[in-house]
């Protein structure tokens, strides 16, 4: 196991060098987060389908419990129970549109992970950096539990638990727990925990900050493992996942229409119904819920005792409990929507629940159709402060300060950008498939074969995977 320890030290040193300006030391934070003995226990696996590229190179790395799809190179890295999902990478000949330019992609894009330690992290989408179209790089980076690296090349960064960086190139940054950043390009920034920041320079700038102290009940991360409601929630359901990872042939617990896709590494509990064009990704958890036509549940989503009418996007890591969602409701990354059996949460059609929103109620609540919701909402008063009709929001043309939200720029452009993106996500997921056209992940991700790969079982290289090259 010596090699594994050496590799850990090497990664920590490299990340700390990058973060020296911010005086941020990752060592005490992640030193004992995942015991090395734990990192030797799990196999890694990769998917094979006729619809996705197959090209993997693993060198001098530990990949325990991690999943790979598409094209990916991992070197000198530790990946613990992470999902590296390369099913949206650009292809040779694609045109990348950026500020009026159409930039041709000269070779198939690859995810490159070097000198990084990713814990239960999702890597998905494609590089949105016009300077690095063919390489979605993640280097000298440490990310912790349930972080999302979504279309965001990263160099020399630390990501706290349940944080998300979306469509943003980041260099030498610290992203606090449960912070969400979508800002195009950032460097040398320390983003406080619970910051939700969406910026398109010169067009709009949205920032919400969770009230100090109140976020700690949900996620608290200082030294030792992350704590709080979010962690308790996933830990309570951990056992169900152990079964799906231990059993080789698993039978569907539920009828799946021919146009829908249910990943074999998802957990399906009784009384769940899956409609046409539904996508259920690996590590999703469904229980006593209905997913109407075109709805999706992405990685690390939990949908429990809930009803999704159709064309609902439940983005990576979102949780919906005891809730009824109208058609076309978008629930952003890592949102936590919790009604109660006797206090259901209803969200009206075409509403947008911003990424990293917490709705946690004890009395029934109705969010009107076409509403934008953000931040911490535990009662009607907080809903009034932290929401606005999409039509009203679209009218903002200077700036607005509402509770802990500061918005500046064009509300109309902000709403349009979100609506266009939601449409694109539904399209990519195959929600609009009609039997002939508009195939997406729901149709392409059916019948995936999974192969497993294993590390050295003992000795100095215990836990390290041998160099492995996998090609068609």
């Amino acid at each position: 196991m010596k090699e594994l320890v050496k590799l850990f030290d090497r990664i920590i040193q490299r990340v700390n060098i990058n973060l020296r300006e911010l005086e941020f030391d990752v060592n005490p934070i992640v030193n004992k987060l995942i015991p090395t003995a734990q990192m030797t226990k799990f196999y890694a696996f990769y998917g094979i389908t006729p619809h996705h590229p197959l090209n993997f190179v693993f060198k001098h790395s530990n990949l325990s419990g991690s999943y790979f799809l598409g094209r990916c190179r991992v070197t000198n890295s530790l990946l613990y129970k992470s999902d590296i999902r390369g099913d949206e990478l650009k292809k040779n000949g694609d045109l990348f549109q950026y500020q009026g330019f159409n930039i041709p992609v000269s070779q198939d894009e690859e995810i490159h992970i070097d000198d990084s330690f990713l814990i239960k992290t999702l890597v998905h989408n494609f590089s949105h950096d016009p300077e690095t179209l063919e390489r979605f790089f993640i280097r000298d980076t440490v990310s912790t539990h349930y972080a999302n690296i979504h279309g965001s090349p990263s160099d020399g960064c630390f990501m706290g638990p349940f944080s998300t960086v979306d469509l943003t190139t980041m260099r030498d940054c610290v992203i606090g727990a449960y912070a969400y950043v979508q800002a195009g390009e950032i460097s040398h920034l320390n983003v406080d925990p619970g910051t939700v920041w969406v910026r398109q320079p010169g067009v709009f700038n949205f920032m919400y900050r969770y009230p100090r102290g109140q976020l700690n009940d949900y996620i608290y991360f200082s030294d030792g493992p992350p704590r709080g409601v979010f962690m308790d929630f996933v830990e309570d359901r951990k056992e169900a996942f152990q079964r799906v990872f231990e059993v080789v042939n698993i039978e569907n617990q539920v009828a799946v229409p021919g146009s829908a896709s249910l990943d074999r590494f998802a957990v399906i509990k009784p009384k769940t119904s899956i409609g046409e064009n539904v996508l259920v990704a690996q590590r999703a958890y469904l229980q006593n819920s209905t997913l109407g036509k075109g709805a999706n549940a992405q990685e690390n989503c939990y949908i429990i005792n809930s009803h999704l009418r159709g064309n609902n996007v439940t983005a990576h890591g979102a949780k919906i409990i005891d809730a009824d969602m109208g058609n076309d409701v978008f629930v952003g990354f890592n949102s936590f929507l919790r009604g109660r059996p006797d206090a259901r949460l209803t969200i009206g059609k075409e509403s947008i629940v911003m990424p990293h929103t917490i709705i946690d109620i004890r009395k029934p609540m109705m969010v009107p159709p076409g509403t934008l919701v953000w931040g911490l909402v535990r009662n009607a008063k907080e809903l009034k402060t932290n929401s606005m009709g999409l039509k009203d929001f679209s009218k903002i043309d200077t700036r607005i300060c509402k509770g802990n939200l500061l918005f500046e720029g064009s509300g109309g452009s902000f709403v349009t950008a979100f609506q266009e993106r939601i449409h694109h996500i539904l399209e990519a997921n195959g929600a609009f498939y009609n039997g002939n056209v508009n195939r997406g992940h729901a149709q392409r991700n059916q019948n995936i074969s999974f192969n497993t790969i294993q590390p050295y079982p003992e000795g100095e290289k215990e836990g390290m995977y041998p160099t492995i090259i996998i090609e068609p």
């Binding site: 920034l189 320079p201 300060c401 500046e408």
Partner: protein, 191 residues
Amino acid sequence: MKCYLVKDLMVPISEYATVPEAATLFEAVLALEEAQEQYQQSRYSHRAVLILDKNKRVIGKLSQMDFLCALEPRDADLDQIRKFNQFGFTRKAVALQQEEYLKKSPPKLDVYSKAAKLKVTDFMQRPAEGEYVDENTSVDMTLHQLTAGSNLSLLVTRGKEIVGVLRLVDVFAAVFHAMKESETQLLDGTT
């Protein structure tokens, strides 16, 4: 135009407002008031207080802006709001958020009384490398130093000793008068 040297325009340290490092903000303001009353060389008033250590060496400067900043309410949330410009927000937006936050804060009736007792060293600015100038430097040379660093004043040195303060207002006045004199001569055809 007369070629001024720094020492021609500086305020000698003996005439400048100074306080020891143990002084409070209130003592610093009193020192400033006293210096203003005594110093009548020009119509421009004193705008800063120098902070001296026990060996009478200058260790910092408290400007009017530093003084006003000390009166501003401070807490972790406000500090966070003040960092918003890092995230691409305009000054107007930051001010709006700050105003909104302060509306919800309890009124601070005794803010002046509390601020008066604060230590001057907590708010003073320590002079940086580019804020010193030798007394024999020409004012023309010093102009660049003032503009490049956006400095309102420079500390004037003689060897290792600080002997005075060169203020932007005095440099401006000297340059302006020289320019006026030169233009007048041109118009009169006397050059």
